[in-house]
Each structure stands twice: as C-alpha cells, then as structure tokens.
Point group: C14
Chain length 93, copies 14
C-alpha cells in the first residue's frame, strides 16, 4: 500500500471506533440520569419542574462528551489535515 491509502484506512478505522465506542459512555450515563429523573418525579411530583430543568442541563452536559467524539469522527472523515497534506503531495508529484 502507498502512503495515501494508509492514511485513508487509519482515518476510517478511527472515525468508526471513536463514534462507536465513545457514545457508549454518554448513552449509559443518559440512561441513568433519565431513569433517576423518573424515579424522582414519581417520588416527589411537586418538584417536577426543578427536576426536569436540572435533568435537561445535565443531559446537555453529558451529550457534549458524545458530541466531542462525533466531532472528532467528522474531522477525521471530512477535514483531515493529514489526508489533505497527503493528496497534495500526490497531486504535486
């Protein structure tokens, strides 16, 4: 394989792994947070506005870590500086 191919392959691999595994943690954490929210509402229905507000802030914070992963995947597929450098090298050769 030539250099360009290697970089392409590695970019594909990491794009998949980063999203595939990196979303596991946030998903489980969100599941836990949502589950607790439901228990709390059932236990104290009067506090449900405070609970849902805190829940949404928390979910946004957790979702942000999933988005870091998705962003890295997208950068690796569509805005990869190493790939750009490599195809310039090939073009300029």
């Amino acid at each position: 394989m030539d250099n360009t191919t290697w970089i392409a392959i590695i970019s594909i691999i990491l794009a998949g792994i980063t999203t595939g595994f990196g979303t596991m943690g946030p998903a489980l954490a969100e599941g836990k947070a949502v589950a607790t929210a439901l228990t709390s509402i059932a236990q104290q229905p009067d506090a449900s506005p405070t609970i849902t507000r805190t829940l949404f802030v928390g979910l946004a914070m957790i979702e942000s870590t999933a988005i870091y992963c998705f962003v890295v995947s997208m950068i690796l597929i569509f805005a990869n500086p190493f790939w750009n450098y490599a195809i310039e090298q090939v073009a300029g050769k």
Copy 2:
C-alpha cells in the same frame, strides 16, 4: 491486495463494528430508562403523563447516540470520501 480493496475492506469492517457495538450502549440505556418508567408509573399512577413525556424526551436523546453510530456506518458504506477518491484514482489511471 491493491489499495482500493484495502479501503473497501476497512470500510466494511468499521461499518459493521460501529453499528454492532455502538448500539449496545443505547439499547441498555433505553432498557434501563423504560424499566424505571414502568416502576415509576406503578408507584405513582397519577404522575404518568409527566413521566411518559420525560421518558420520551430522554429516549430521543439516547436514541440520538445510536443514530450517530448508524450515520457513521451509512457514510462509510454509501458516501465514503476515501473510497470515492480511490476509485477516481483507478478510473483516471
């Protein structure tokens, strides 16, 4: 193997792994959230509208991480920039 084949293989592998493993976390998280919702409804039937509404928002949020994985798989199979580059190279040769 030539370069095109390598990229095809790697794309197939990651497409499968990203979806196959990446949906594990969301599935478990959704199972947990649904299970808690049912417990909560049984415990406090009067709050069931609030609970189901919060549940559906939460499920949508968790499902979003599964969809990130599915999107990455579909991009790798049907809109893969590295693959497009490779078959252009072959065609132009």
Copy 3:
C-alpha cells in the same frame, strides 16, 4: 487470495459479528424492560393498560437498535456496494 475473495470474507465476518453481538444489548435490555413490566403489573394491577402501552413503545424503540444491526448485516450480504464494484471489475477485465 484475490481481491474479490477478501471482500467476500470480510463481508461474511462482519455480517455475522454485527448481528451476533449487536443483538446482545437489545436482548438484555428487552429482558430488563419486560421483567420490570411484570413486577409493576403485580404491584399495581390497576395501571396495567398504561404499563403495557408504555412497555410496547419502549420495546419498539429498543428493537429498533437490533434492527439497525440486522439491516447492516443484510446490506453487507445482499446489497454490498464494494462487492458489486469488485465483481464488475472482474467481469469487465
């Protein structure tokens, strides 16, 4: 091995793995959801219509992640663009 064979092998491997492992999470999650539903019905028989309705929505949502995996497997076996490209290359050679 030639290129076509490699792509065939990898497609078979991932088709099996994606379904074989990807259905583990949903199965466990559904088992958890069903189990909780039964507990909840036993605890609050009057709420059983709400519980079973919420359960079926939840199961459908969880099943959807199992179906993503099955879809990817079927695409890899029967509608694989990389395989189609490869056998066209062989045919056109």
Copy 4:
C-alpha cells in the same frame, strides 16, 4: 488454500460464532423475564392472566433477536451468495 476454501472456512466460523454467542443474550434475558414472572405471580396471583400474556409477548420479542442470529447462520451455511459466486467461478473456469 484457494479462494473457495477460504470462503467456506470463514462461513463455518461465523455460522458457529453467530449462533453460539448471539443466543447468550436472549437466553439470559428470557431467564430474567421468566424469573420475574414467577415472582410476580407468587406476589399477586390474581393478576396471573395479565402477567403470563405480557410475558409471552415479551418472550416472543426477545426470541426474535435469537432468531435473527439463527437466520444469519443458516443463510451463511445454506444460502451464502459469496459461496455460490465462488463455486460458479470454479465451475466456469
């Protein structure tokens, strides 16, 4: 080894793994669901018709993921398009 043998081997491997591991999740999930059903019946004998009905719907849903795995195994052994292609190639050579 020649190409046909490789495809045969890989198909055997995946057929075994997909069924062997893929049935683990459903089996455990069904065990959990059945166990909870028995607890629930013991706790609330009057609700046993609702419980067993919900149980059987749930078991069918969980069993469906085991069947996806078995279906993929059977396709790989008896209706494998890659294998058919390979033995046609050998026959036509």
Copy 5:
C-alpha cells in the same frame, strides 16, 4: 495442509465452541428461572400449579436457544455442505 484438512479442522473447532460456550447462557438462565420458581413456591404454595406451568414453558423457550447451538454443532459435524463439496472435489479429481 490441504483444503480438505482446513475445512475439517475449522468444523471441529466451531462445533466445540458453539456447544461449549453457547450452552453457558441457557444454563445460567435456567438456573435463575428454577431458583426463582423455588422461591416463589416457598412464598406462595397455593400458586404452585401456575408457577410450575409457567416455569416449564419458560424453560422450554430457554432450552430452545441451547438447542439452536447443538443443532449448529451437529450440522457442522454430520451434515456440513462445505465438507461434502470438498470431499467431492477430492473424489472427482
């Protein structure tokens, strides 16, 4: 090694693994189900006919996943299409 030997070896390996590991899940699930049944009978002796009936239906369902694994092993040892093809090739050569 020649091709026939490879296929024989792989078939033996998978036959063992599929049964050896694939029966682990069902065994544990059945252990759990039986254990819960005993607890339930001790807790509510009057419901024992319903409990044992539900238990046997559940055990049959769980046993079915163990049987899928055993069936795949037996197919791989005694009715393996890839092996039949291979020894025909050898015989016809």
Copy 6:
C-alpha cells in the same frame, strides 16, 4: 505436521475446552438452584415435597446442557468423522 496430526490435535483441544469450559455454566447454575432450594425449604418446610420435585426437574434440565458438551467431547474423541476420513485416506494411500 501432516494432515492427520493436525486433525488429531484440534480434536484433542476442542474435546478439552468444550468439557472444561462448557461445564462451568451448568455447575454454577446448579449451585444456584440448589442453594435456593435450601433457602426455600428453610423458609417453608411444609412445601418441601413440591420444592424438591421441581428442583430435580430443573437440575435435570440444566444437567442436559452439560451433557450436550460432554457428548460433543466424546464424539470428537471416539466417533470423529473427520478423523475417520483422514485415517482412511492415509490407509488407502
């Protein structure tokens, strides 16, 4: 190594692994079932005939999965069709 040796080795390996690991699940499951039976008898001595009867049916069902593994091991050691084929090939050569 020649082909016969390979098949012998693989058969030995799988015979050991299938029994060695495949009996782990049933053993643990039986331990759990027996343990629960003892707890149940201590809790409800009057129901001990029903409990022991259900226990023995359950143990037999669980033992069956251990026996599947033992059967596969014995087939691989003493009635292995691949080994028979191989030594016929050697004898007929």
Copy 7:
C-alpha cells in the same frame, strides 16, 4: 518437532487446562450450596435432615460436572486414541 511430540504436548496442555479451569465452576457452586445450607440450618434447625439430604444430592450433581472434566483429563493422559494411533504409526514405520 515431529507429529508424535505435537500430540503429546497438546494432550498435556489440555489435560491441565480442562482440570485446572473446569473445577473452578463446580468449586464455586459447591461453596455457594454449602454456604446456603449453613444459613438455612441456622435459620430453621428443625429442617436440618431435609436440608442436608437435599444438599448432598445437589453436591453430587455438581461434583459430577467436575468429574466429567477429570475424566476427560485422564482419558487424554492415559487412554488417548490419537496418541495410541501415533505411536503405532511410529512403531510400524
């Protein structure tokens, strides 16, 4: 290495592994069963004859899986058909 040595080595390895790992499950299961028996006797001293009788039946059943493993080890060391075949081949050569 020649073929005989390979078979000897593999037999030694599997003999050790089958016993070394295969007794882990039964040991833990027996520990659990004994522990529960002691708890049950402490809780309900009057039922101790029934408990110890059920315990011994259960221990025998669990011990049987450990004995399957030990039997396979002994067969591999002292009554190994593949080894017998191999040294006959050497002797007859």
Copy 8:
C-alpha cells in the same frame, strides 16, 4: 511507508482513542452526579439551590478531565510539534 506517514497515522489513531475512550469516564461520572442531584432534590426540595450550585461546580470539575482529553486530541491534529518537524524536514530536503 515513510516517516511523515507514520507520524500522521499515529497522530490520527491517538486523537481518536484519546477522545473516544477518555470521555467515557467523565460521561459516566456526570451521569452519576446528575442522577444523585435529582434524587436529592426529590428528597429535600428546600435545599435545591445549594444542590444545583454544588452540582454545577462538580460538573465543571469533571468536565475538565474530558476537556484535557479533547485538548490533547486537538493538539495532536492541529498543533503537533512532531508533525511540524517532520514536514519541515521533508520541505527542506
């Protein structure tokens, strides 16, 4: 491969892994913290200002570890001193 390519590949791999795995811990920790906050609010609604304030300080502290990972990934992709050195070496050659 030449040296530049190796450095590019390794940078891509670590950028993906650092973010993909490094966000798992913070995500789970945040999920736990949010979940406990909700439980606490439900249990003691009067203390909710103190709780949410402490929660946000804690989330910021935990998020900081996720950001360390993201920063290292970005440094490796866009401000990598080893990469800069390598392409200078290539340019100056």
Copy 9:
C-alpha cells in the same frame, strides 16, 4: 529445541498453571463456606454441632476439586507417560 525439551517445558508450564489457577476457585469457595459458617454460628449458637459437621463435609468436597488439580500437576511432573516415552526414545536411539 528437540522433542524432549518441548515436552519438558510444556509439562512444567501446565503443572504450574493447573495448580496456580485451579486452587483459586476452591480457595474462594472455602472462604465463602467458612464465612457463612461463622455467621450462622453467631446467629444460632445452639446449632453449632450440626453446622460445623455440615461445614467439614462441604469443605472436604470442595477441597477434593483442589486436589484433582494438585494430582494432575504431580502426575505431569513425576509420572508423565509422554515424558517417559520421550526419554525412552532418546535412550533407545
């Protein structure tokens, strides 16, 4: 290495592993059984003769699995038929 050395090495390895790992399960199981016995005596001092008697039968049964492992190790070091065969071959050569 020659054949004798290989057999010696493998025998040493398995002797160590079989004892080293195979005693883990029994040790833990005995720890559990002893611990429960102590709890039970503390809870019901009057039943201590029955408890210690049942405990010693159980410990003997568990110890037996550790002894199987030790026996296999000793056979592999001091009464190994494969080693005897090998040094006879060397001596007779």
Copy 10:
C-alpha cells in the same frame, strides 16, 4: 523508520494514552465524591458549609492525580528530553 521518528511516534502514543486513560479514574472518583456530597446535603442541610469545604479539598486532591497525568503528557509533547537529544544528534550529524 529512523530513530527520530520512532521517538516521535512513541511520545505521541503515550501522550494520548496517559491523558486518555489516566483521567478515567479521577473522573469517576470525582463523580462519586460529588454525588455523595449532594446526598449528604439533602440529608443534613445544616452541615452544608462543612460538607462543601471538605468536598472541595477532596476534589482538589483527586484532581491532582489527573494533573499528574496531564503534566506527563505535556512533558512528553513539549519538553521531552529524549526528543531533544535525538534532534540534536540529527542536527549535529
């Protein structure tokens, strides 16, 4: 690859791993500490000044272990004595 490249690669790898994995422990520990603080405040609102003060001292102590990891990463990227030695060797050559 030449020596400089090897050192660069290894430095990148360890920089990523040290931060990516080393922040997992602190993140989880902080999540646990924060969660307990919230529970404690809810349980004893009067002690909240003492609790938050102890919490912040504890978080600082835990964060210090995350910072050790980040410091090692930064040393490896920007103040690596081995790298400096290597590029001096290259420059002086």
Copy 11:
C-alpha cells in the same frame, strides 16, 4: 538458546506465576473469612471460642491451597526433575 536454557527460563516463569497468582485466591478467601469472624464476634461475643476455633480450622484449610502453590514453585526451582535430566545430559555429553 539451547535446551537447558529453555527449561531454566520456563521454570523461573512458572515458579513466579504459580506463587504470584495462586496466592491471590487464598488471600482474598482468608480476608473474607477473617472479616466475617470479626463481624460474628461483634454480633455474638459469647460464641467467640467456637467462632475462633472454626475460623482457625477454616484458615488452615484455605492456607493449604496457597501452600500447594508454594510447594509447586519450590519444586520447580530446587527439585525440578526436568532440569536435573537436562544438566545430566549436558554433563554426560
């Protein structure tokens, strides 16, 4: 390496591993037994003679499995029949 060296190396490795890992199980089991003894004494100070006597019998039984491992290590270092055979071969050569 020559044969003697190989046997020396393997003996060192296994001596270390057998003791290093094989003492893990007994240590944990003894920790558990001691811990329960302390709890039981605190709960029922009058039964402390029976408890400590049963504890010491149990500890001796558990320690025996650790000693099996230590014995195997010492045999491998100081009374290894394979090593003795090997240095005799060298001396006699």
Copy 12:
C-alpha cells in the same frame, strides 16, 4: 534502531504507563474516602473535626502511593541511570 533509541522509547512508554495507570487506584480510593467522609459528617456533624483529621491522614497515606508512581516516572524521564550509561557509551565511542 540503535540501543540508545530503544532505551529512550522504553523509558517514555513506562513513564506514561506508570503515571497513567498508577494514579487510577489512588484516585478511586480517594474518591471513596472523601465520599464516606461526607456521608459521615452528614450523619454525625458533631464528630466532624475527628473525621476530617482522620480523612486527611488517610488521604496523605493514599496519595503517597500515587506519588511513588509519579516519582518512578520522573526518575525514568530525568534521572534514568540506564539512559545516562547509554549516552556515555555513545559519547565515549
């Protein structure tokens, strides 16, 4: 690679791993200790001086194990005797 490079690489690797993994245990242990301190203060506010004093002694003790790891890393990077020996060898050559 020459010898100097090998030593440099290994030193970098171990410096990273020792700190990256070695701080995991202390971090979790400190998290646990802090969490329990907070629970204890909430439960018994009057004992808070004794609790915080014991906590700080304990944290210092735990932190010491993290510092052992950091010290080993720093020795490996900045005061490595093997590295000093190696560059002396190179300089003296």
Copy 13:
C-alpha cells in the same frame, strides 16, 4: 542474545510480576479485614480486645501469602540456582 542474558531477563520480569501482582490480593484482603474490624469495634466496643487479637492473627496469616511472593522475588534476584549455573558455565568456558 546469549543464554545468560535470557535467564537474567526472565528473572527480572518474574521478580517484578510476582511482587507487583502477588501483593494485590493480600492488600485487598487486609483492607477488607481491617475495615470489618473497625465496623465491629464501632458496633460492639466491649469486644475490642478479642476483635483486635483475632484481627492480628488473621492479618499475619494473610500477610504470609504476600511474603511468599516477596520471598520468591528475592530468590529470583539474589539466590537464583539457574543464574548461578549459567554464570558458572560462562566462567568455566
């Protein structure tokens, strides 16, 4: 590498691993025993002499397994019979 070096390397590796991993079990077991002792003293201050005496006997017993590991490490570094044999061979050559 020559034989002496191999034996040196292996001895270093095992010395480190045996102590590094072999002290993990005892450390955790002692932590558990100490923790239970503290709980027991808090629960029954009058029994503290009996408890601390039993604790110290137990700790000594557990520490003995850690010392087995340390002894094996020291034997491997400073009184290694294989190393002595090897350097005698070199000296006598």
Copy 14:
C-alpha cells in the same frame, strides 16, 4: 540490540509496571479502610481512639505491601545484580 541494552530495557519496564500496578491494590485497600474508619467514628464517636489506633496499624500493614513493590522497583533501577554483572562483562571485555 546487545545484551546490556536488553537488560536495561527489561529493568525499566518491570520497574514501572511493578510500581504502577502494584500500588493499585494497596491504594484501594487503604481507601476502603479509611472509609470504614470514618463511618465507624460517625457511628460510635466514643470509640474513636481505639478505631484510629487499629486503623493506623492496619494502614501500616497494607502500606507494607506497597513498599515491597517500591523496593523491588528501586532494586531493579539502582541495585540490579544482573545489570552490574552485564556492565562488568562489557568493561572486562
């Protein structure tokens, strides 16, 4: 690489691993012991002198296992007999 380098590398690796991993167990055990001490003080403030005294004896005992690991690391870096032998061999050559 020559022999000296190999010994240096292995010593570095084991020095790092022994400290990095070997301090994990003690750290966790100390965390557990400290945590229980705090709970016990909160539960029984009058017994705090006895508790802290027992705690410090226990911590010293646990810390001793961490120090065994640190001692082995320091011996491997600064007083390694194999390294001394190797550089003497080089010097004397």
